[in-house]
């Protein structure tokens, strides 16, 4: 007996088509850049835009009045991100320059962009090989992916008002969508406005430093390019040396903005509306601030007592300003998965690298653009573990777990345990597969490379800690099979595991 599919895949695909058509408008930005600089890559973006819009409008024909439900939400979200990465890779292939001209590499770079991972397979990051418009597109993908394509679509498209909350929940990091206003579209708009406002302020400050003469390299192009990748915790930079290419004062300015990108944007909205107390009272924000501060202080001490010295930066050990700057920068960058580097931290001592690895497993806040396991989950896990200890001493005690004074549902706590366990399972499976794949092709990797390849892609962090995956290295050396796996990990990681993984279950399609 044949069983019917219980997923309205036509409605789902039709909506994906609408979203792709919307996304194709983003190509306007690199088109403008190409026009300003008079670059030959203009046609690359015009044709990419035409193909994306055409495919999107074609998919739309599948269902003239799509009405996707809760189940279709997973399909829509997972496929939108996959297609975004695929069509976002077109310019790299069409431009045909450097390592990213290879389709798999192009897809890797595009997925890394949209998921705000920031891992790169580029062999040569310079305007000699790539045009400014290609580089700007690479930066822009991160900005689009940061707050989320779906959130953007809900904010703009009126037809997404119904079911928008379900779609946003499937996409937005962290458990549950907090509606700020009765209309979901308005909530999405509020989030994007907060995101846009912070981005613009940040760009203006960067360029302001340049105009005042404190940041020679931070011209308007760079200010916009870095604005596109800091707030989404992306980490791409058009500079080969990442943030190392800029003056210390720029690096100091980037630190608070990287930190801010890891905070729940709902809280920023409250701050923008003049209510800073909500931010300061928030349990998750306090833990995030506390974890960042403690890790920064310890790392500063570790760097200060080390004999670290590099040709580019000079003596770091014994120099308090440098120790503090490098520590604060790298902790802020890795704790919430931004992935910028202001020096090659692969050269750091073992203990210092250990601290960075620890930071990678923390993640940003729920509702932020940061990836990883997320502070909120750690907070709930810590609180419920403390409860376990307490109830083992007092077996009869009834102790609800509270967050910001509100009682958490036991199902939500169980869900958080399940997520975290699954996250670690996928991480370890990734480590095993990368190791096996490297052995298959005879690639000699350090242990740190294998571990970071898994956590840096799954957690959407970007740079790892080894020689290959490190901030000044690149993922280009990995075999194609590993790259495909990494693309999968980035995809799964950005959508917080479940929307992608449920598509692989039989129950999803047939029940």
């Amino acid at each position: 007996m044949r069983r019917h599919l219980h997923v309205d895949w036509r409605a789902g695909l039709s909506l994906v088509g609408t979203l792709l058509a919307l996304l194709s408008l983003a190509f306007v930005v690199p088109i403008l850049v190409a026009l300003i600089y008079g670059e030959a890559d203009l046609w690359v973006f015009i044709s990419s835009m035409a193909v994306t819009a055409g495919f999107g409008l074609l998919l739309r024909q599948l269902d003239s009045e799509p009405n996707p439900g809760a189940r279709e939400a997973f399909l829509v979200v997972a496929l939108t991100w996959l297609f975004a990465a695929i069509f976002g890779a077109l310019p790299y292939i069409l431009a045909g320059n450097g390592a990213i001209a290879h389709p798999i590499n192009a897809l890797f770079e595009s997925m890394s962009g949209f998921t705000t991972t920031g891992a790169t397979v580029m062999d040569d990051i310079s305007f000699d090989t790539h045009s400014r418009s290609i580089m700007m597109w690479r930066q822009l993908t991160q900005w689009l992916g940061g707050m989320g394509i779906i959130v953007l679509a809900v904010a703009i498209l009126s037809q997404m008002a119904v079911g928008g909350a379900q779609l946003m929940e499937a996409e937005t990091p962290g458990p549950g969508v907090s509606k700020l206003t009765p209309h979901i579209a308005e909530t999405a708009r509020v989030l994007w406005i907060a995101y846009l406002a912070l981005t613009v302020i940040y760009m203006a400050l960067l360029y302001g430093l340049h105009l005042l003469g404190y940041a020679p390299n931070m011209d308007l192009y760079n200010a916009i390019a870095h604005g596109f990748t800091t707030l989404p915790t992306g980490g791409f930079s058009p500079e080969a040396r990442s943030m190392e290419a800029f003056s210390p004062i720029v690096q100091w300015l980037v630190i608070p903005f990287m930190f801010a990108a890891g905070v729940n944007f709902v809280l920023w909205w409250h701050v923008i509306s003049g209510d800073a107390r909500t931010l300061l009272r928030d349990n998750e924000f306090r833990l995030y601030l506390g974890a960042t501060s403690v890790l920064t202080i310890i790392t500063t001490v570790v760097l200060f007592v080390s004999a670290l010295e590099t040709p580019e930066t000079g003596q770091i050990g014994g120099n308090l300003e440098r120790s503090a700057r490098y520590a604060a920068f790298q902790i802020a960058s890795l704790i919430n998965s931004t992935g910028y580097a202001n020096m090659d931290f692969d050269a750091w001592s073992g203990p210092a690298k250990g601290l960075l690895l620890f930071a990678m497993f923390i993640g940003g806040s729920a509702g932020s653009t940061g990836g990883g396991i997320k502070i909120l989950r750690w907070l709930v896990i810590l609180k419920s573990l403390r409860r376990e200890m307490f109830t083992s001493i007092h077996p009869e005690a009834v102790r609800p777990v509270r967050m910001n004074g509100h009682v958490l549902d036991e199902d939500a706590i169980r869900g958080i345990y399940a997520f975290t366990l699954l996250y670690f399972v996928i991480f370890f499976v990734g480590v095993g597969l990368f190791a096996a794949d490297a052995a298959r092709v005879g690639l000699d990797l350090e242990l740190l490379d294998v571990i970071s390849a898994s956590i840096a892609t799954l957690g959407n962090i970007g740079p790892g800690l080894g020689e290959v995956t490190g901030p000044m290295g690149g993922y280009g050396e990995f075999p194609v099979t590993s790259k495909l796996l990494m693309i999968g990990l980035m995809w799964i990681g950005r959508l917080e595991l479940f929307p992608v993984l449920v598509l692989l279950t039989k129950a999803y399609w047939t029940d």
């Binding site: 007092h394 009869e396 009834v398 102790r399 009682v407």
Partner: protein, 444 residues
């Protein structure tokens, strides 16, 4: 005064009984048996009907009533009675409720539902429990001016830090006044030079927090200040009591057998340790060291269970036991067999409501040491010797044996000192030697 009481339950009956002699009382109830019973047992007019209906209220003559008391067992009905009564008369309305949330709504928007005064039975009982148990070494406690001012009597222990010091030395509190000292048979009106001797009972008047602080300070640090509180039963009273203790800075333990109820109250009480167990499980009691508790309050449904728990707690060696008793007739019996304090919710409610029927609504009296002294609250009138003059000058016109303990001006507490000028309309709380009471009342 014409009083209409809706609801002839125990509270309604108690109020009716209290008022029958001096006032015209009409009682309304839906239960015809109760109505008939009332007709013959009390000197009141008992009517059968639904108090939420306009017709019934008109029949009871609500338009001519001065006071309407709604005290059925249903919160919503009581609120509706008051709201309806307000539309047909100018009577002062009192509603009795059980839900604290309803009280909070009303407090947040005075006059809501057409209710002029709201009494929350369970909260009242919970507050009575906390009041009695909150202060260590207390002999007597009472509150004035709607809880703003507290009066307490303490016994000074030989080990107490204030033993041997003068009142002037001991007085380090902003909003606290030393009113009087009882030494054996003697009653001394406190002055700055009065020496506090071991065995003295000192009466202080002031803000609730100052009195609590003083209580903590005078008890020797070695003694456990009665901080270990165990409440048995998460009934509404048990729950409210836990909440009251939390608000006073305690971290009580609450034992509840039903797991759903335990979870519900645990969610609402962040600073209470809720334990899901049978309070008569001796093994459990030993494991949780309930025997070391300073106070066990039993607030289970059922007087017998409360008696059992209290007796068990006493046998384990608990310092003090308090039991909630529904049946007033048991109270004396319970206290005889070993329960330290028996509290009856209905009695508390009826007393609170009856206070409103007195001629002067605000007046309150507390008697100390078998009426050797009294603490009185009253409103200052224009003709009073106190009005418009500094206290130093005013007291020369008063007999000896009077201490002005606290002044409340438009809801704010003012600590009286020599230079303070009392204004008409102020509420003052005075400590008065019973011997000069009449002279004082006349002068004031």
């Amino acid at each position: 005064m014409r009083v209409v009481i809706v609801g002839a339950g125990e509270v309604g009956r108690a109020i009716a009984h209290n008022l029958e002699e001096a006032h015209d009382v009409v009682v309304i109830d839906r239960d015809s048996t109760l109505v008939e019973d009332l007709t013959y047992s009390l000197d009141v007019l008992a009517l059968q009907g639904d108090g939420t209906e306009r017709e019934t209220l008109e029949e009871a003559g609500v338009d001519r009533a001065d006071l309407v008391i709604a005290c059925t067992d249903h919160d919503e009905a009581n609120v509706v009675v008051c709201g309806t009564a307000k539309t047909i008369s100018d009577a002062f309305t009192i509603a009795r409720v059980r839900q604290r949330t309803l009280l909070e709504t009303w407090e947040g928007s005075q006059g809501a539902f057409g209710v002029d005064f709201m009494v929350c039975t369970d909260l009242l009982t919970a507050r009575a429990i906390t009041r009695i148990t909150d202060l260590p070494a207390t002999q007597d406690v009472d509150t004035f001016v709607g809880g703003l001012v507290r009066m307490a009597e303490f016994e000074i222990d030989a080990e107490s830090p204030v033993a041997g010091s003068t009142v002037h030395e001991a007085d380090q509190y902003d909003s606290l006044t030393f009113a009087g000292v009882f030494r054996g048979e003697e009653m001394i009106v406190a002055t700055g030079d009065t020496v506090l001797q071991p065995g003295d009972r000192v009466v202080v008047i002031g803000s609730a927090s100052a009195v609590t602080e003083f209580a903590r300070d005078i008890v020797p640090a070695t003694a456990d200040n009665g901080n270990e509180i165990v409440i048995v039963g998460a009934s509404e009273i048990g729950f409210q009591a836990a909440r009251e203790f939390e608000e006073h800075g305690y971290q009580p333990r609450l034992i509840e057998q039903d797991s759903d109820r335990a979870r519900t109250v645990a969610e609402k009480l962040p600073n209470t340790m809720v334990l899901e167990s049978d309070a008569t499980d001796v093994e459990f009691l030993a494991r949780e060291h309930i025997d070391e508790a300073d106070l066990v309050i039993s607030a289970l449904d059922g007087d017998e269970k409360n008696l059992l728990v209290s007796l068990l707690a006493r046998r384990l060696g608990v310092g003090r036991t308090v039991a909630v008793i529904e049946n007033l007739e048991y109270a004396e019996l319970f206290e005889t067999v070993g329960v330290d304090v028996a509290i009856n919710p209905r009695e508390e409610t009826a007393e609170e409501i009856v206070r409103f029927t007195r001629a002067d609504h605000t007046e309150k009296v507390a008697m100390l040491e078998h009426d050797r002294a009294e603490v009185i609250e009253f409103e200052v009138h224009n003709e009073s010797v106190l009005a418009g003059t500094p206290i130093v000058e005013a007291v020369t016109d008063l007999p000896d044996g009077v201490v002005i303990g606290a002044i409340s001006r438009r809801g704010k507490l003012i600590t009286p000192r020599g230079g303070t000028v009392v204004q008409p309309g102020d509420h003052i709380v005075v400590f008065v030697d019973a011997a000069v009471l009449e002279d004082v009342i006349e002068a004031i």
